[in-house]
Symmetry: D2
Subunit: 338 residues, 4 copies
């Protein structure tokens, strides 16, 4: 009964198989191998973006911070939700990579930025040499609250940024879960919705350590490549990161895993709704549930061996992954209920 | 016939086996799992350093830059060899991680810093608010020239640093090869020789992507942990990095692989010495050979499918790895000779 | 009728006289002259702090950012009011000097941080490697809203910081005005109230370009000196900055000028209170007034040649200086009223 | 007998007079005043560069580091002489302002970069993602050795940089002395010789604290303005910096002062050449002399009250300024000789 995070799940066996296939003989390092090049082409195809450039990394924090550093100079501020991962969970990585750029935190219900708040905040920013200048807009889908922006919602926000001439980053640590929740295509959820740079996260969805920064504007690729090297994120044996993504995209495994995780979270949400005293806090269509439960229910669940994070006596976060089983969900619900 | 770099070699099969064993069920992420903790204890034992702290990362550049950033403030300069990896091959990662600290480049034959040059350079550094202050000494073993410092040579250099109150970093991207070449123990080649922070490199010696920063002074561990996170180098599924090292240390596999690589390089050096017109440039006891060969020899070797780096028409670098075979060495020599 | 800012006022004539007296013959540069040393001793005496170290600079932004950089590592966050100068008016200087440390913005009425809000915010900060760590508390007196913390109010806030082990910075760009408003001594308004590092501002109170960073903890002086040089803020002819402060302290001129500015603002506030449709927004005991006035009143005042900043159609900021005259105040009031 | 540095000289009285004239009434701060604008126009005229942008600062270190930061990204290296001020005397300010860019140090006799060495060094730099990229060329005139580049020599070096697409910075801390030494016009010594950004130094030539960054490519002006503010170098009462330069340019006072300083140094050099055992080390046409003298000569001079820097027992640097008198020079020579 492990619901602490999707990055605590095991790696999908097909991923190891793909890496072992990649382990035959020698290959030039640092991405100068055919597998890394082939993966770039595959991602271009998946995203219907023949010009896109792709940089492979191994952590989402690095991918986000790298993406923002090519979009914002040190004297600008990135607009993001108050509870964005870049604001709350990366120990200042965006500030470090950008050379001290700021984050402007915008409130909004259920982890989403409200268009009015975005417009108003941008309008109040910049205008003189004394203040931080307008930088990028950074959105997250699936959000940290477990909610999902529709492509229409994304487009409404990116249109505001574009009207002010600002570039847009999408933190897609759970991009596959957002696709699975909405039925949108990768292109629809990214560049067609106004996204300039995407963090495409694999590690939370069955891979070992594989993230990609997808630059829909290839003009920034060389700068991004230098920044990646300089940050120590150019892994030498890159063919093994490429291999992970190969297994991911193979026969839409990435979407199958995400759909499964989402469905396990839905099963959990349905069960919680039926529990007296339990309340699901945010509307959720993906794989993260925030729920209020009586303290006694938590005590019972923990005693039964359930692993998950509590913010306080009653509020908790429950995350399903590609490997969560219906039996685990039911056992957790039973422990809460008993 | 791949002699371009030891990081172009495949991963040892035992490493995949260990990672797959680690892939059973769930584990807390970010190093809060028993495997990561057990590895730390194993490294403490291997190095006879019960207080040491260990941070796992996936690239050597990150490990070096992180190590230096805890040893030098932004206004200091790190003393290193002119051809050190941190100076020539990391695109300014040390400057980035440290917030702009300098490197002071010291010449010396065969990739080694001469004690006199070190003493003189340190003596000329610092002393007023207008200049860069004295920072750390950074040594590399195996050096970039493929030579190996003995523990006595290391101690002579670190003693000079210590006499000036300076901390010492050792870039051990090929630490195992240095141990194999000298017969020294891990402790003798590190803290007993005056090293404060070690980059322990696994990726160039059979692992997939595994490096460790070993802090013999544990007081700096929390700062290092924050810097690692902030740089995006706290991988979430850290149990798989730990598993790689487990396979490495198992039955001294790390030393066996290093000894094998060194012996293949020795076979190559012997063969080159017997070739008319060929010359081995640096004394080498490890797995890297720099050699001068007639341009025609290079043409033949490349035509035969040999892969390695040439600096100019005649000078080349040849690197052996754990997976290099005697047949490959002999085929290369034959191609050079024919 | 110039009420745009106290830094638009002329320099007090005595300041030029002092600088010209200092202009006799040669002097060692970079502060190695007797005048700079004598000023340091004078500031120690004025603040009853015989151990304090003093660094002279020429801008308040530099003084603030330098002060914070010695108090917070790059991975920490400084707690400050949402409208603090360091947050809103320095184009990210604190982030630049600190290497990317964050600011955590705390709300509070009338430009002041409420103790409860401070306690709660600190309590919610830090605790894991994923988040920004607790850094310094930065207070401002006179606040950006023109209000003044009493020494008791300051002490209540610094006590909270100290209870969490955090150092305290005071932005005293208008420190003299705060002293004049409260009657506190320099020591009472600084180290006795828990302040570790003070930005002592002279430029807004009659000097040409003179600020001092006063470090009550001298252990940080050398680091601060290196950071000052590295930021290009070690002026060579420092005797002329020292001379400005000499004229300032002479016969309590600094307090006289501040008292005068405060009294002119009080006269303005009294006049505004008597005007129909006018409202003074914040309680003010210093030299800054925020006021709501009918748009027509602003039109009339501007037409009469008044210079000041408007935030919107009705809200304005009016700043008095050492050189503001009663006649100017009355003329402005008349223009508003007419 | 003060020959320690030209920045230890007094301020020219006309400079104070100009500042006091500027001290009438109120003025908008931060350069939004007519005097600052008028000075910009004057510098455009002086340099025959109607598009140039001008940023005023108060230290040469800040001006140099700011200039370089707009010319080089963090992953590039600036090419400069091994003994350049930016390399040896600024405590890493260029690294700080640029976010960690490197300096590549080039040797060359008498403080000058040899064209061949520049070409060769640039050619060896860059080319892969692993290394620092080619950044700016930074030259210094008058050099740190007291020698002067002719405009032809400057052009030869900048042509090499331009051929590689690199921008050029000129550290003109003693720009007026270089003009006086060569008879070149300001335009000939800057943009016509291929300089993109000039540090125009006033402080070493009679001003109190006044430097200008002159951007001949105005496209970079806004970035430079933001960087200046962010570094705390946007002084509020900028009219007084402008006033200093007004006094400087008035009736070519800057050139008169520089010519005088140069002529005093020439008198000193002539005298030294006639002294038994004395040797002038570098050819000098400006205001700095490096000389070898017997240790006993130094002992006598110091005993006579002479102030200057010695590098070792015999080598010294002697700097003349606008206020050096012939009597002082002769007294120093007499002390050396006696």
């Amino acid at each position: 009964m492990f619901f602490a995070s999707d990055n605590g799940a095991p790696v999908h066996p097909a991923v190891f198989a793909a890496m072992e296939r990649a382990n035959s003989g020698y290959a030039l390092s640092y991405g100068n191998d055919p597998a890394t090049e082939a993966l770039r082409d595959r991602i271009r195809t998946v995203f219907e973006a023949p010009e896109a450039e792709v940089l492979l990394l191994t952590t989402g924090t690095a991918a986000n911070a790298l993406a923002l550093s090519v979009l914002t100079p040190p004297w600008a501020t990135t607009f993001c939700h108050r509870h964005a991962h870049i604001a709350e969970d990366e120990c200042g990585a965006p500030e470090f990579f950008s050379g001290g750029a700021k984050l402007t935190l915008i409130d909004g219900p259920h982890g989403k930025i409200a268009p009015d708040a975005l417009e108003q905040t941008i309008a109040q920013t910049g205008g003189s040499v004394h203040v931080a200048q307008r930088g990028a807009l950074s959105l997250t889908n699936v959000t940290e609250a477990g909610t999902v922006y529709t492509t229409a919602e994304l487009s409404a926000l990116t249109a505001i940024a574009k009207a002010h001439g600002l570039p847009v980053h999408l933190d897609g640590a759970r991009f596959a879960n957002a696709l699975a929740a909405t039925g949108a295509t990768p292109a629809e959820m990214s560049w067609r919705a106004g996204v300039d740079v995407l963090t495409l996260g694999g590690t939370k969805n069955g891979l070992l350590a594989a993230e990609a920064v997808v630059l829909f504007n290839p003009a920034q690729a060389w700068e991004a490549a230098l920044r990646r090297k300089r940050a120590g994120h150019l892994n030498s044996k890159l063919r093994f990161v490429a291999a992970q993504f190969d297994a991911w995209f193979e026969a839409d495994r990435w979407l199958d895993m995400a759909r499964h995780a989402n469905s396990m979270a839905a099963r959990l949400a349905r069960g919680l709704s039926a529990l007296p005293g339990a309340e699901v806090v945010h509307p959720s269509h993906a794989n993260i549930i925030f729920a209020q439960l009586p303290a006694t229910a938590h005590t019972r669940a923990k005693a039964s061996g359930a692993v998950y994070y509590q913010s306080d006596e009653t509020l908790c976060r429950l995350v399903a992954s590609w490997s969560t089983t219906g039996a685990e969900v039911d056992a957790l619900l039973a422990a809460f209920a008993a």
